[in-house]
């Protein structure tokens, strides 16, 4: 049988052949062509690095001391005036005690001086009344003199009582001082840098001071009792002899003589107020609202005056700081617009300012951490519709008109 030729292949089979064999290859090549087109349209420059810019406030220690307690954690929101941490300062406490004691001593001294002047005035008037010639007046003034002698006795007793009070205040102050010295010495001994002998000496001194203060308190009590007795005698005499002048006129120059003591007392009270204000300042408060960006002090840590304790930052960045590496410097003018990108979100921002010269870039942006890099910095305003946090890293791309 003669071999017949192949049957005719219809067009649909050719098209099917084309679809199954050739089309994938053509599509594959077309894909590469599309990639080339898209690649050429894609901007080659990598986005610039920008950082959210926000106000940062440093909270420093108002006094040297020990951090007693920290009331906030990292990234906690804070309100203006909120207490952040508490410091303890033993030196400040000692100064406060000393200042209060000094104030009390000056008040007692002022009062004693006033009584002394009144006593001297009474003595002068008594001497004046002794020279009267008139017998009747002499009898009357004899009565007045006796009254004044009661007053003199009363004022002497008051003076003694004030002196006893002064002694008592001095003794208590001395006791406080010795107590503080003993506390410090015991603390040093616990830290193995003090001396046991010194501690023993101070304890003995403290015992003496306590005894002295106790004796001074007893003396003061007896003096006050004497004052009360003399007052009672004077009152009884005044009750038996009515009509006698019962008041003495104070010399108006007495107030002038006491001005110096009053001024010293005012100075001491002002010093005491200052120390009390410093003690209040041991509670560190937030100067403004925001968020805790960094905690630099921990409870139990000793800090010095003006040492940084923590940093606060605002919740929202008020701009973007863009770094242009030296290799990518481009001509930028104020008002030029940039696209700020964070992930898939973006917003436009305008240039507010540009650094005129080269500056050293932050070390975290260096390609090699050992080699410093330089460039320009641009300041952009806050992007529209994109809320950034201070310090947040974003990508920035120039928008070409």
């Amino acid at each position: 049988m003669s071999e017949l030729g192949p049957i005719r292949t219809p067009l649909r089979e050719h098209l099917r052949e084309l679809r199954l064999q050739l089309l994938p290859l053509l599509v594959w090549l077309g894909g590469w062509a599309l990639i080339a087109v898209l690649w050429m349209q894609t901007p080659k420059t990598a986005p610039l690095v920008g950082l959210g810019l926000g106000d940062e406030v440093v909270v420093a220690a108002p006094e040297a001391g020990l951090v007693e307690e920290v009331f906030v954690d990292l990234f906690d929101p804070v309100r203006p005036g909120q207490v952040l941490l508490a410091l303890a300062s033993s030196d400040l406490d000692a100064q406060l005690v000393e200042a209060r004691a000094e104030s009390a001593r000056l008040e007692a001294a002022l009062l004693a001086q006033r009584v002394e002047f009144e006593l001297a005035d009474a003595q002068l008037r008594q001497n004046a009344t002794d020279t009267l010639a008139d017998a009747e007046e002499e009898a009357a003034f004899e009565q007045a003199r006796r009254l004044r002698s009661f007053r003199v006795e009363e004022q002497r007793a008051q003076l003694d009582a004030l002196a006893a009070t002064l002694e008592r205040v001095d003794a208590e102050l001395e006791q406080e001082r010795v107590q503080l010295r003993l506390s410090r010495a015991e603390g040093l001994l616990e830290g193995e840098v003090g001396s046991a002998a010194e501690v023993e000496d101070l304890r003995a001194e403290l015992d003496q001071a306590v005894a002295k203060a106790s004796a001074a308190r007893d003396l003061e009590e007896r003096a006050l009792t004497a004052v009360a007795e003399t007052r009672r005698w004077r009152a009884d005499f005044e009750g038996l002899t009515p009509g006698l002048p019962t008041s003495t006129v104070l010399d108006p120059r007495i107030e002038e003589r006491l001005a110096g003591h009053q001024a010293a007392l005012a100075v001491q009270r002002a010093r005491l107020s200052g120390i009390e204000a410093r003690v209040d300042g041991l509670l560190v408060r937030a100067p403004q609202g925001g968020r805790v960006a960094s905690l630099l002090a921990q409870p139990g840590e000793t800090v010095v005056l003006a040492q940084e304790l923590l940093r606060l930052e605002q919740d929202r960045a008020r701009g973007v700081l863009v770094y242009l590496p030296e290799s990518e410097l481009l001509s930028v003018a104020v008002g030029d617009r940039f696209l700020v990108r964070r992930g898939y979100d973006s917003g436009e921002a305008a240039v507010l300012a540009a650094s005129p010269g080269l500056v050293e870039l932050p070390s975290r942006l260096w390609y090699d951490p050992r080699v410093a890099e330089f460039g320009r910095t641009l300041r952009l305003d806050a992007p529209v519709d994109l809320e950034l946090r201070p310090g947040e890293r974003v990508g920035v791309v120039p928008i070409r008109p």
Binding site: I7, T9, L20, L34, L38, Q41, T42
Partner: protein, 228 residues
């Protein structure tokens, strides 16, 4: 892009540069995925080859590039995707790789929509579905193009001289012997054939039967040829 902005709002619209970047990624994943699939197809040995797996390689590469666009730098979104995948896998036994690809694609699309990236979701859907339909239409991943199996028996000795080769050359573009079973007086042949005209299969069978020594002719044509 203006239309997308009006439809979905400013935050959902895709900046032009981002659209270009997404298209570039998907296209590159498509062409590179095909290269990977071709090499896999050519170098695969054994009996477990499946065309659906080869197509899944291409689609998977495109889907993963979409995932990276959606997730971006967000670790929260990344963990959300991991969790969703784990739940789906735990609750469903995915027998076919293609099923896995489509489940993955549904998850990623949901992520894109849920995170407000409507434009990216639409663009990616068009690209991915277009690629899926295209790969199915061109039967991407098929090893050899045969239309079916032809089996017959030749009686008597020297079966190769039965004249069936001429008939097959007339009706078929290509034919390859799958098996030959030699009996005492009968030789059984099975060929896989590629027809010149699929609709004239009956003519081939009749022509084969018309040969004197050939009987029990059977032609099985399939659209989906199972590779075994």
């Amino acid at each position: 892009m203006d239309t997308l902005e009006r439809l979905f709002g400013w935050q959902s619209a895709l900046p032009e540069a981002e659209l270009r970047s997404l298209l570039l990624s998907l296209t590159l994943a498509f062409v590179l995925g095909q290269m990977v699939a071709w090499v896999y197809q050519r170098t695969h040995s054994g009996l477990s080859y499946a065309r659906s797996f080869t197509q899944s390689l291409v689609l998977l590469m495109m889907i993963v590039s979409l995932v990276m666009h959606v997730i971006g730098d967000s670790i929260v979104t990344a963990f959300g995707l991991i969790g969703a995948l784990a739940i789906i896998r735990f609750r469903n036994v995915l027998k076919d790789t293609r099923d896995t690809v489509f489940v993955f694609y549904a998850l990623v699309l949901g992520l894109a929509i849920g995170s407000g990236r409507f434009a990216a979701a639409i663009v990616a859907t068009l690209c991915l579905l277009g690629a899926t339909v295209y790969l199915a239409w061109v039967r991407f991943g098929t090893r050899g193009f045969f239309d079916g199996h032809l089996s017959f028996r030749v009686e008597g000795p020297r079966a190769e001289e039965g004249g069936f080769q001429a008939v097959m050359r007339r009706h078929c573009r290509r034919f390859e012997s799958l098996s030959v079973r030699q009996g005492d007086a009968v030789t059984e042949f099975i060929f896989q054939v590629r027809m010149r005209d699929r609709r004239r299969g009956e003519e081939l069978v009749a022509a084969m039967r018309g040969l004197g020594r050939v009987d029990d002719v059977s032609l099985v044509l399939q659209d989906e040829l199972a590779e075994i």
